[in-house]
Symmetry: C2
Amino acid sequence: MLVVQKYGGTSVGSVERIKEVAKRVAKTKKEGNDVVVVVSAMSGETNKLIDLAHQFSKDPKQREMDLLLSSGERVTSALLAIALSEMGYPAVAMSGRQAGIVTDSVHTKARIEHIDRKFIEDELKKGQIVVVAGFQGINEQGEVSTLGRGGSDLSAVAIAGALKADLCEIYTDVDGVYTTDPRIEPKAKKLDRISYDEMLELASLGAKVLQTRSVELAKKLNVNLVTRSSFNDNEGTLITKEENIMEQPLVSGIALDRNQARITLRGVTDKPGIAAEIFRKLAEENINVDMIIQNVGVDGATNLGFTVPEDEVEKTKKAMEEIEASQKVEYDSNVVKVSVVGVGMKSHSGVACTAFDTLAEEGINIEMISTSEIKISMVINAKYGELAVRALHHAYKLDK
Amino acid sequence: MLVVQKYGGTSVGSVERIKEVAKRVAKTKKEGNDVVVVVSAMSGETNKLIDLAHQFSKDPKQREMDLLLSSGERVTSALLAIALSEMGYPAVAMSGRQAGIVTDSVHTKARIEHIDRKFIEDELKKGQIVVVAGFQGINEQGEVSTLGRGGSDLSAVAIAGALKADLCEIYTDVDGVYTTDPRIEPKAKKLDRISYDEMLELASLGAKVLQTRSVELAKKLNVNLVTRSSFNDNEGTLITKEENIMEQPLVSGIALDRNQARITLRGVTDKPGIAAEIFRKLAEENINVDMIIQNVGVDGATNLGFTVPEDEVEKTKKAMEEIEASQKVEYDSNVVKVSVVGVGMKSHSGVACTAFDTLAEEGINIEMISTSEIKISMVINAKYGELAVRALHHAYKLDK
């Protein structure tokens, strides 16, 4: 098998941790696999470099920030290759450039354009373990670029896709993907398998295991992703194509997103273009509008509701002040979004009904509802968030 | 003018120091010059990385050490470019690779093979200050290489040579080259100018301002080198071609080298091949033999004397044990080497005589003598080292 393993900042956060990672990599190699390892900077290093730069400029040049920030991953890759060689496992460290990772020219949040597989493949053919500095590449001009937060995951997924690896393991400090947050519902179970689409819903809804961009790329490149812990030997969660999941459960998990604010415009003139004006304005200001609800109006006026991340409420207020239509705006930051996610619900009716019944039984009022093929999201009063999660977790038998 | 400035580790050792360097660079630019800056890692950083690597291996892989160690200079170059841009001086940071520095493939002590000037020149044409990470380049295989200790000086000199810069300023924490060590002779004077050859003798004899390799390269590429301090505005010392120095003093300086041990073989059979055997063996063990003295023998036997660095005496003893001829070997670490250096002595007789007279007057016995066109070196008892330096400094009127 060809296995790509990615280790995050806490997994390589100290000399001892890097030695542990080296043992794990060596074991994988010893079992007969070809191994490519992608590493993050040691935890804290990237923030240290950002702080340094900010002592010179509030808004440091992005091209130079990339040269600066790319150094952390290079250090880790060199150290891990040294550790592996010392253990008798030939290993070679590569910067993003040396690994053939070519990006576009958007500094500090570049997109990978392609990977020249030759460089890694040549080393694998020689029997080497290849250790790649994550988070970075070079653009067509030969300048160093970085991929933004979560960039090392992207590096790993892109390399796995380019090399057609059998598996891409993402090691963090959590065991995998759970049916819900175990801190809210202790009966939460780790999922063995989950589809890309479900993971995307869970990730964007607040499950912090993997960033949306990485899951999207894995889906596009058809990479079998495993998320697991580098601190124990537990099996992780496989994120794969829907077809690869034999027994499809109705519902895979319940997500809670606390970073939500509800905005309501009452009595908006019910004519074409008003909603467009509002959301164009919000898009211009880079405000992430999530749910949008508009009811049929009465007497030529309607109510328009939408949600934005709670920390973007101030920005939203400013933007709305410039829109004439929005004279009667209500802001409510005291809400959360609870979501039921599962590809099984596509072919089953009654899933939504169970959710509504369950919350009603608990006396929880649903303020907004939005549904897709594989999820139902409900905005409720913040104080009921945990209760709703536990009730829904039980109602869909996720604790069984 | 096109000026290359190089700032060493203590000159960029903190955020405050980097800001001071930025001001100096900006001033040079403002005066109408094109400026290329070469920077070292912040002081302590390179040793920190070496320590990290040694926690994984006593003898870490050199290829990976290069990837590891090159990161320190990249960080400094990015930070300085950010600082300059913030001050309103457009600046661009470059790694060794981006600056077009191509080396051979000897990892951790590579030699610069050539510099592709296009990359730096393109940026200079745009009016940018170019900040290059010193100490590094890439080899023909595209791997990162480093140039060994003092490597940033080499980067600066090589860039100055490739761009035909008018001046290459090496900034450290000392003011320039002195007629002798001011800690030994407070009357020591800073030299305004000195020839490459004199500087080479002084550098290899223990004056720590510039490494021999950098001066050799400057001589080869005909680069006008200035060594000066980044902590004050004093004029430094210009190191240049002999022809550029108008009034040639007889003697430029007195050097003291304490890291010396004298080794004497008594009664060596006076036949061809014996000396060759000894020095071949020492060369194989990488022992730096300095002075070698052999007298005409008496009765088919002779005395052979040579010096090695004091810290290589143990290695030398081991090597000598394997040589049959060396049964009567005496080791004396209690010696120092005092040298009188000056291109003026080429055309003047009597310079050596003054040295011998001076030491005789002070009652100092000379144990070994070796001379070249521009220097006289004498090995004496260690306890007389400082006295000899002061007496010679006065005898050649260097304090005037």
